[in-house]
């Protein structure tokens, strides 16, 4: 079963830029086709979620560290971008950059503290930090962030060009998704990425070989968090309204679920999982009011019986 289709080999042949280009074109065409069927607004939403899942896959899938605190960085990106565009300049590009920088800085500080832990402790310490962030945003800094009610986020034009209006916005998000995909793919195929993947299999051996595994883990953590913050900033512009929901630790379940359903440790899995999850949620919420209940049950079943995800099944039968 493993032999030919080991997840490691799935990536190691990525050296030609040609193959990446073909893949990027396929993803772009699929997203555009989907937008005709489901509408640009929704597919833009899906693509932003896919960026979040991609970034999460870097920590969970590649590094093998489960975290339940990823929404902290997503929310940091959202709030920083919204506040930056409100106070400093309404320029969306600068807002996005500010959000990413804030997410990366926060990840640097928090990462220094949490990176020494692993396993369950890592997951829960991150969740605790996420709660701290949520409390700060929703209650402590309520007069700045709008508290539990949230606040509108205003996006200005770039010169005379309205980036945040469809169809420009759709193509911009598509570009962001492809860029994230491309960057993360090259990251995972680079020597650094291979080191990160070996940490997943045996951190002790990596240390034994003389590498400072904490450094690799910290850098990966920061990169993944920056991408999450990136997705967060896009969300702030996408909805024009932000709420503490975007920093709520409860929403991590969605990301974990999307990642599991697609298949962990696999960039394609993260993409497929993100899309499939959003489509399921979209249809499920029409027919079933209590979709969170269904999500919880499916999460249990997935963790017990269906661990390889969609890409795992594809690899098995290919």
């Amino acid at each position: 079963m493993m032999g030919k289709n080991r997840p490691g080999l799935f990536f190691s042949s990525v050296s030609s830029g040609k193959r990446s280009l073909v893949e990027i074109i396929i993803i772009a065409v699929l997203c555009i086709l989907l937008s005709f069927y489901m509408g640009k607004h929704r597919v833009a939403d899906f693509m932003i979620f896919c960026i979040t899942v991609l970034s999460y896959d870097l920590i969970y899938g590649f590094m093998g560290h489960l975290t339940i605190g990823h929404m902290l960085y997503f929310g940091t990106g959202t709030y920083t971008a919204a506040l930056f565009m409100k106070w400093v300049t309404p320029n969306p590009i600068l807002g996005i950059v500010a959000g990413i920088v804030a997410g990366a800085l926060l990840a640097l500080i928090v990462g220094k503290l949490v990176i020494r832990t692993k396993g369950a402790t890592f997951a829960l310490v991150n969740m605790a930090f996420n709660y701290v962030g949520f409390f700060l945003v929703a209650y402590a800094w309520g007069n700045v962030t709008g508290g539990e009610d949230g606040m509108p986020s205003f996006t200005g034009p770039l010169g005379s060009f309205y980036l945040h209006r469809h169809p420009y916005w759709f193509f911009f998000v598509l570009f962001c998704l492809l860029l994230s995909f491309y960057l993360l793919k090259h990251f995972s195929a680079s020597p650094f990425g291979i080191m990160v993947r070996s940490i997943r299999y045996s951190e002790r051996r990596v240390r034994f070989l003389g590498y400072n595994s904490h450094y690799y883990k910290l850098v990966t953590f920061i990169i993944a968090s920056s991408f999450a913050a990136f997705a967060g900033t896009l969300t702030a512009i996408n909805y024009g309204y932000i709420a503490p929901d975007y920093i709520s630790p409860l929403r991590n379940a969605e990301i974990i679920f999307a990642n599991l359903i697609g298949g962990i440790g696999n960039i394609y899995g993260a993409l497929i999982g993100g899309m499939v999850y959003m489509i399921i949620r979209d249809f499920l919420s029409i027919y079933v009011e209590r979709w969170e209940l269904v999500l919880g049950v499916v999460l249990v079943v997935t963790a017990l019986r269906f661990r390889t995800g969609i890409t795992g099944y594809i690899q098995k039968y290919l």
């Binding site: 969970y60 692993k118 930090f129 709660y131 700060l136 974990i256 919880g296 017990l304």
Partner: protein, 273 residues
Amino acid sequence: MFGLTIGAILYLVSIGFAITFGTMKVINFAHGSIYALAVYFFMTSLPYVKNNFVVSLLIGIALVIPLSYLIEKYIIRYLYGESVHYAIIATYGVLFSTTDTIKWIWGTNPWPIIVPTRASIQLFDVTVPLYRIIIIGAAVAIFIALHLFFKKTIAGKVIVAALDDSVGVRCLGIDQFKYFSLVFVIGSALAGVGGILYSPIAAAEPYMGFRFVLLAFAVTLVGGMGNLTGAFISAFSLGMLIAMTARVLPRLSEMMVFVVMAVVLLLRKEEYE
């Protein structure tokens, strides 16, 4: 005094969590759902038994025990010895579904619960509500009872041995899983007791399960993994901390617990699994 009350509740809630975590390395988020469900069962049964607090408490616990047994049998048992990630994901799924079920059946609004006794006692020169003394007394009694349980009974001794060295116990040919289900159910019931006793002080709301699992985790971590007396001490000290912060910054009192947890993690240089 408020701090001691919170500490007592924290101890009751975290002891079951600490045992499952310490022995089988399973992070049991479903603990939070048991906690929340016990409170809601208790609340619902109150009007049917003429607002008799003790009877409702027993009903709440009685309803929660089979549930926790089912969770142990059909979900947790498959996760023993597996990667800790799947345990977190699966039990998180349980907590997610129960929270939504609670929202479905009982709605999202917080439910206030009447304090069973308004009497208070004059202790030295402070007036203390009797109810809080009962809570603290219950926690201390349960601590002593558990201590005896772990010292005197076979099941308790097996658990203590397994906390120390799980593989060693298995090598002796002891079917520790049988004892684990027992202790799991006891721990869940205690979480239920803690939740119900705390409910008149705070209101019942669907997301309290999430909050208390995290607090239980912090207590376990600060007290030292698999250290049951440590859990007792850390529960009370964290409870005092919450109460003291609540005077200055009411909204952020629970946040302080996580700050302390981070400091403890930093001070202990060794790595955690």
